[in-house]
Each structure stands twice: as C-alpha cells, then as structure tokens.
Symmetry: C2
Subunit: 239 residues, 2 copies
DNA sequence: GAGTGGTCTAGACCACGGT
DNA sequence: CCGTGGTCTAGACCACTCC
C-alpha cells in the first residue's frame, strides 16, 4: 500500500463506513491492524480516526475500540455541518435556483460608544456599515447587517457589496481565520418586518458573527436576520 | 517545573492569556520555548495549544507562530460554549433563581412509520414519549418533547421525568457519548402556543437532538421548543 | 490477565512566512 | 535563507474494558 498520509487513511475509512463495510461488527479494526494495513504510523491512524470522530461517524472508547455510530438517512442529515466561513450564502447552497442581493444601505462611519458595545469594535475606528437583503428564489429570506473594520479590510464599494464581499476579501489577501458565532431567536423589529418576507411570523433567527483575521484582529461584526422555517444549523457534541 | 501533562500546560497558558500576560506581542512563545519551560515533549505542548485553539483563544499560522485572538468582554461572551450534553437545563444555568419541570405527557408506545421517519428510530421498537415544560423563574420557557429507546435506557417513570432524566441515566450506567443537534426557527404550533409563555411572539426556537450511547446506538430523539429572546447558542468555526 | 485506546517522549523531515 | 508550525515515525507506559 505504500505510505499514506492521515488524509488518505481518513478518506478510505470514511468511504468504507459510509458503504457499510464495517456495519456487521459496528467497530473499526483496532489501531495496530490499521497501522499494518496502511503501512503507516500510529500518529497517522489516530489522526484519521480523530477526523472521523469530528464528523460524527465514530466514537472511541478506551479499552474497547472505535465504535461506529448508527447512521440513518435522517441522522446523516445532521452530518452536513454548516461549518463554513462564508456567511449564510452557502446554506442549502445546492438547492437554489436563484439568488440575488439587494444593498439596502452602504456607508462609512466612525464607531461611537453605543456601536462599540454592540459590535466589540473600539470607539473611534472607521467601519463600513452595510445592510443587504438576500433574495432566495424570489423570497426576501435574509437581512445581513455588516460592520467591517475599514483599516483591516480591503476597500469596499457598493458594487462589491452587491456581489460577494468574502470573495473580494480573498482576492485581496485578507484571510478570515476564525469566526465566533451566536445564534438567537428574537422578536422581529421594524426593519426586519419592512425588509423580510416574514408572512404571518413576527420573529427572526439572528446569527451574530464576529470574524478575526490571521493576525488575531477582529475585522467583522455581522448580524444575519433570517426568516423562520427555512434554515438549519447543525452541531456535534462529544463527550 | 518537573513533568506536566498537556492539561497542566493548557491551564497555565490559558490563565496567562486571560490575564494579559502575552498581550503585548499578541503571540504565544514558540513551541521550543514552551517545551523548555514546561520540560515536556512537543506532543504535550501542541496538544495544549490545540485545546486553546478549540476555545477560540489562539490561532496557529504555519511559519509564523501562534497568534492570540483579540478578546473583549463582548467577544468573550462567545466563548462560553454551551457544549453540554444535558439538554437545555444548563443554559444560562447560573442566573436562575427558580427552576421547575411540569410533565405534560408520559407514555410508552411502539414506533410506527410516521414516528420513525420523524425520530430516526426503527419501526416496532418501544419508546418512552414524554412532554415536559421547563418553567424558569415562573416563565414557561421550554417545551421538551423526548423519545427514548426503552430497550436501551433504564426504566423511566413520571417521577423521574419530573426531575433529571440525565442524572437518572448516569446513575444507571447509561453513557451518552455523542449528541447531534440541529437548530431551527419555526412557526409555533398549537401545542407550543398552549404550553409556552410566548407573549406576542408566534415563533419558537427548535433544538433537535439525537443522542447516541457509547456503543454507537441511538437512544434519544428530542425536540426542545424554546421561547424567543431568552436563549443563546455559541459556535466556533476555524479555518 | 490480555486487549485496546490515551498519553507521552525523542527524534526527523516538510511547508510556509518573512528577511 | 532561517524560523516556525505541520506531519510523521518508532517506541514506551498507563488506564480502562472485558473475560
């Protein structure tokens, strides 16, 4: 088999698990067997297993072995982790026929005290303040309220805001390293009611994101207000 | 300093970061320095750093070093990860003066086809079907709808449901290994409206959980319907 | 007591960042 | 080019599970 990186091992094992290769015993082979099979070190095997555990496919028990988790079509749905950095745009990405962005507001401003406590940006720094509505298949589904640190982000224009800001960042060498997110359910405010296709609903989901560049500096504070019944968020919790 | 486990190193570094010890350079010392300081191996040091990264405190850049993420009181709030296995009970746990559970429904039933597609349990197995309202400081805040695989869970009674089911599981040797969760915002149904203190709101948050024991078997399907404006969920996404 | 994963050490080489 | 984190190897001992 020759030398394999942990990534190769991971993909082979993942494929086998998903095709039912191990479903009789509901166990992975023990580490030593995998080491022999892939002619690799224990480090690589263990790293591959750790990756499978992060996917919610297996669970390791000391002294017993690596157990496969049951996966039905329903539970597998939970594995489509929405762990991407690109905001709501990519949620349910495959399904959309149509996708439009309407820029509701675009301005530069200086952070004052109220905005500072709200966004965690320091008082006095210049930010882009942008509001955009995401129209999915003709439905006004998401209201994005962005604040970008103007000193740490490439120059933004309304035209760029109409397309993909993240793509623009990437092209101009800004790397988003980490995003901290908070999810809430909130009563809709006047702006939400005016801009979103809420129908009879009077609440929104609010996904608050704080993004950091690869120097550890906060570059973004964003609230994404989205309509009910259309969006899912997945999470995996391990003991 | 003697020998340190990765956990000791982790806690020392975490403490230093939070008290501003490294805030001038916004960098951690390089791995070799930490190895020397803690008189440990690279493995332990790297594992400690990996843990800090999981907490959203640092970010490693190949060729550059380990960068500290900015943390303000606001962004630190995002670090209180609600990654616990005990359901909604522990959300905002410290703040509560008062906490009560009202068992709305408690029955045993056999999974039929509709329930199977809903809960991912196989048709024909016996389950406990339980509905409970969580009353926090006098407010009917959460409606829990549980289905437990009766073959894989210790015997349940209404009295136990009135207290902590998870504590009962723990006492009886049932280990919850992994929980897959899905979060949604939904229009409230009649049951929600009847049982929860929704006020003027007509939507709920729905936290769907599928729990697995340490043999990889699904033991639980739960929907927790919660009122708007009261609950937060945190998430960390790394590149 | 045998089997298995968890932790740890001591080394090596590679890939990327900055000079 | 040097410094740094990422990957990997080969081994050791410990903690837990199960017979």
């Amino acid at each position: 088999m020759g030398k394999q990186t942990f990534s190769d091992i991971y993909h082979v094992l993942k494929d086998r698990i998903l095709t039912g290769h191990y479903s009789v015993k509901m166990r992975l082979p023990i580490e030593d067997e995998l080491i022999t099979e892939f002619d690799s070190s224990r480090y690589a095997v263990r790293k591959a297993i750790a990756q499978l555990a992060k996917d919610g496919l297996v669970y390791s028990v000391k002294g017993r072995g690596v157990v496969l988790l049951e996966h039905t079509p329903q539970t597998q749905q939970f594995n489509l982790a929405l762990n991407n950095l690109n905001g709501l745009q990519s949620l349910n990405a495959e399904r959309h026929l149509d996708y439009q962005t309407e820029v509701v507001a675009f301005q530069q401003r200086i952070v004052d005290q109220p905005l500072s406590t709200h966004t965690a940006f320091e008082v006095g720094i210049p930010v882009y303040a942008i509001q955009r509505v995401r129209i999915v298949d003709g439905i006004r589904a998401v209201l994005d309220i962005n604040y970008f640190n103007a000193q740490r982000t490439p120059t933004l224009t309304k035209t760029i805001a109409q397309h993909s800001i993240y793509q623009h960042f990437k092209k101009n060498g800004l790397k988003i390293a980490v995003v901290k997110r908070m999810l809430r359910v909130e009563s809709a405010n006047e702006l939400d009611k005016a801009q979103l296709a809420l129908g009879d609903n009077n609440c929104i989901g609010n996904m608050i994101s704080i993004a950091f560049n690869d120097e550890g500096r906060q570059v973004e504070y964003t609230e994404s207000h989205f309509i009910p019944n259309e969006f899912n968020f997945n999470e995996l919790i391990r003991n």
